[in-house]
Symmetry: C2
Subunit: 593 residues, 2 copies
């Protein structure tokens, strides 16, 4: 079985010591009371719920899966009770507005709670996760009457939400959407079409489900400029908020998937269902992107959550499993064999997860904190700068943390040897569950294109400055610091490569868009490793400066050194590879593959 104890010390170290979030947050309007004490309490409560309620349901949920019969979807045993406890504890409304009954906590705190949920039960996490996405889209784009009816129900968790984008003929390319919306003359629309891959599209956890659906009005232009966003509830609410008549949307089946089996992935058939327009006609993509950006960050957190559990489980196994002897002599001569954590290659697997995961958490929380600053800071320029960082980093966080979740699960499984392949140990479920995160909310290849094609050119590199400026300033400040020398040199080298690749890409991409496309995935990875290295130098510096706990500082420094020595060299290969340009990818005819 997998083991998990919420990494609260790590979270606090990053949030308070590295990012200074306790101070920053209380300077934001509405967060004055959300200091370290309150955050600590919330995190401890969340940890308790996840460890005690969600973790035990993870394996059983995978084994049982969701069932579908006559349009009804049932979640596995125990999910309904756990969801009621979760909603009853106020967790669904953690980051919702007070006027909707929410607790209005900072988004960065919510991200940490989401990490714990995903560490213990990724399937479970998809239900409230999608509700929060729907909540935010309605909050930002819907008419007041819709907000009044729907937001409190999503905040208290009695209703849940979905995002209905994909159709059989269109996934990435939403311009191909066929779902139709006919105006009914009363301000409502009749929605007709088939949506697939709808997470939490139908289930038994909530009394109602609020679908946010992309479709076309009769006068819609072709392509993505003709897509509108509609709110379509499963049950039409009465004006008092109670659930009324059933709407014309039905679940046609659930998918049989590699993993994430306790999360219902549904085919939804809309047959003249009553819907309401959210935001402006034909501007649905804009509203959807609000949801999607938040969702991409949340999916990154899913990967991070899996990586943490993979690490803790593999570490526990490596300390307990006795097999072979240390290469330089028995470490536990009184036992029949040494624990396998003595072996360099087992350590390599564990440290690769550990060094990536700790830096990934720091990166995610940096971006999470920037979300709060972007939303609430008194200074407009600080808001803009924070938003620029979020925009830049969202595809990087999504792709990098989900790739991390999958590789960490595989590294962790590898530590278990053949036992890792057996279902009862739980490691193979982590691999199967993690795999979806690299695909949904835009495949990781799409994230790379978003970075290269949209984020880099914005404001002639304006977004980039939000990373490069502080990173370069850090190098300048610490290049003469002997305590940091072994870390600052490799970091500065990676940063230099990233800058050179960025400059090359800006040129080459202008000449031929395929150059950008061909470099995108390697460029994103180069950027990510450099950003993780930046997190490591900051964490190492902070740990050294922090009074007390010498072992904590020693381990942080050693992990930083491992990252620089064994993982960061990949930047050299990525740089060399992407600089060879598009020709090696494009010269072969499709027929000759």
């Amino acid at each position: 079985m997998t083991v998990y104890t919420a990494p609260l010390d790590e979270m606090r170290f990053v949030l308070y010591d590295v990012l200074g979030a306790d101070k920053l947050l209380t300077e934001l309007p509405g967060h004055e009371d959300h200091g370290a004490d309150l955050i600590d309490t919330v995190l401890a409560e969340a940890a308790k719920f996840c460890e005690e309620q969600l973790l035990p349901l993870n394996r059983t949920g995978d084994e049982e899966g969701c069932s579908f019969e006559n349009g009804v979807v049932r979640t596995p045993k125990g999910f309904k009770e756990a969801y009621e406890t979760f909603a009853g504890g106020g967790w669904t409304g953690l980051a919702c507005r007070p006027q909707d009954g929410g607790q209005d906590l900072p988004k960065v705190v919510n991200l940490m709670v989401e990490e714990m949920v995903c560490s213990t039960n990724l399937s479970f996490g998809t239900y409230p996760g999608l509700s929060l996405g729907a909540y935010n889209a309605i909050k930002l784009h819907a008419a007041e009457e819709l907000k009044r009816l729907y937001l409190p129900k999503l905040a208290d968790g009695s209703w849940s939400g979905t995002m209905c984008l994909t159709e059989p003929q269109c996934g990435t390319d939403l311009g191909l959407i066929r779902t139709r919306a006919e105006p009914q003359g009363d301000g409502t629309f009749a929605i007709t079409g088939t949506k697939i891959f709808i997470s939490a599209g139908e289930h038994d956890l909530t009394r109602n489900i609020v679908h946010l659906v992309l479709g076309r009005l009769p006068d819609a232009p072709a392509g993505t400029r003709g897509i509108s966003l509609f709110l379509v509830p499963k049950f039409l609410p009465r004006s008092d908020g109670s659930e009324g008549q059933r709407n014309g949307v039905a679940c046609g089946g659930i998918e049989h998937k590699m993993g994430l089996k306790a999360s219902a992935t549904c085919v939804l058939n809309f047959d003249g269902a009553k819907g309401w327009l959210i935001g402006e006609a034909h501007k649905g993509m804009r509203a959807m992107f609000t949801m999607m950006n938040a969702a991409r960050l949340a999916v990154g957190i899913q990967g991070l959550g899996i990586a943490e559990t993979a690490y803790q489980s593999a570490r526990a196994y490596a300390r307990e499993r006795l097999q072979g002897r240390a290469l330089n002599g028995a470490a536990a001569p009184d036992k029949p064999a040494d624990p396998i954590i003595v072996h360099p290659d087992v350590r390599r697997l564990l440290l690769t997860i550990k060094a990536n995961t700790e830096a990934a958490r720091a990166l995610a929380l940096w971006v999470g904190l920037s979300l709060d600053i972007a939303e609430r800071h008194a200074d407009a320029q600080r808001r803009q700068e924070a938003d620029d960082l979020v925009q830049l980093m969202t595809p990087i966080v999504k792709a990098t943390l989900t790739d991390l979740g999958f590789t960490a699960a595989n590294h962790g499984l590898q530590v278990f040897g053949g036992h890792g392949y057996i279902r009862e140990w739980g490691m193979e479920q982590l691999v199967r569950d993690a795999r979806i995160t690299q695909l949904y909310e835009g495949t990781n290849g799409i994230q790379a294109l978003d970075l290269v094609g949209r984020k880099l050119p914005t404001g002639t590199g304006r977004l980039l400055r939000r990373f490069f400026h502080p990173a370069m300033a850090w190098v300048e400040e610490h290049q003469a610091d002997p305590a940091m020398a072994e870390l600052v040199i490799p970091f500065a080298k990676a940063l230099g490569r990233l800058q050179q690749a960025t400059a090359w890409l800006a040129q080459a991409g202008l000449r031929d868009p395929n150059e950008g496309g061909a470099a995108a995935s390697e460029y994103l990875r180069l950027f990510a490793l450099t950003a993780l290295a930046y997190m490591w130098v900051r964490m190492a510096k902070t740990a050294l400066a922090r009074p007390g706990d010498a072992e904590f500082a020693r381990t942080k420094l050693a992990t930083a050194r491992f990252f620089m020595a064994r993982l960061l060299p990949e930047t050299g290969a990525l740089f060399q590879s992407l600089m060879t340009g598009a020709k090696p990818l494009m010269e072969i005819e499709a027929s000759a593959f």
Copy 2:
């Protein structure tokens, strides 16, 4: 659904044009008639069987799995019939001796057949695969009477075989084996103990199952020097070869696994079962290694087989799926969108599989041909040299081709986007099935230790010369060849890095064994990429020189360029990473992880 057409042209190109195997083989005693014509016929027949019989059973076998009831294991529907056709067609005896009823074909031909079997149904392949391992161990180490009784039954496939090594407390560390063997005074032994993870340990495909079991005699020294190998049949054969009384071995259950679900992975309980010693007392590890080396090569082939199917399936999907437009303008303006093969990042995924798979096949067949030369060449020195290459390359092939199988399946799945996660498309099964190959027959970390700890030091680098000599000679011969310049330069650079890392490792490993352990995985990968690059320069040169088919040569050259440009740069990162030594891995206390 996955698609597969056996890559016979690729196999023939490597075997005949690159390796000159058709000529080499017919110079070996007993293979005089095994020229290109016969090999072509065998491969075409194997392709037909695999495509028509095995591929359709792959998904259904995964869905149904094996069942266990009252000690009886049933394979999925259709497996028994397919196995009967397979055995009836003489495929189980393809590489067996004529006196046992086998066809005595070259081992390299058998490897190609195994690739096709693994491409179409990895689970099915485990049954005959293990029988061949048992056949070879008995052939090389057992007494004549045992050979006479057992070999013809294994060759004609009416009986199957197993390897019983692992116990609950010991996987990698066979020194911990507890299974006991009590001499019965009549030349037989009573075997008692529990074995786990026994592939094909119990099933309904054959009339009898021949277990090769590692155990300890009463006077056995501790550790691996006290292990003996025993033959323990499920049914005790009568002297006429018919199946007699049931022996004291029973299946206690089957494992529920991530994948490979149509292959029964059994717990076997030996309770005073009658067994016969194979080879000398206490020398079981030696006999077992005969089986294990062949098995490691065969497991590498499993990875190769999966990679080929992942490639073909993803290629077909990428040509058909319409989504988005080419970055430099519509490629199919008459269609609603372009096929996704126009996108550089989709090509990157496909070409990464293609470039690795074609070179991996060449490497495997080079080693496979060396097996035949090592066994039969008239010249003792040629035999020794060929065996040295096999010894050196076995861990590299096992680890590299299985890592390839897994990453190729994942790259292929990624091409399918969200559809790749859905069971009915078959791609996620490839990922789940491939994952075991990185674990069994020694995890890939163990392969790296075998390379660094056993193979490099043998005869002060004698084995290494079998790779370095021809590789260096190739560079020397072609460094002034303008047609090869773009390939020979990166290859020579990688080769230089490998040589430097080898020299460093020989020094550092003497100083501290953990240095070897810490470098092992990166070193194996550096070696593998260099070996794949060597295959690419040889294939490119051969394709250029081959008359006819210009498109074949053009695509081979372009794929070679892709490999050098986009994949080989990883060698730089591996070199830099491994040269940082063991300290970053070893300095953290186990308690501080």
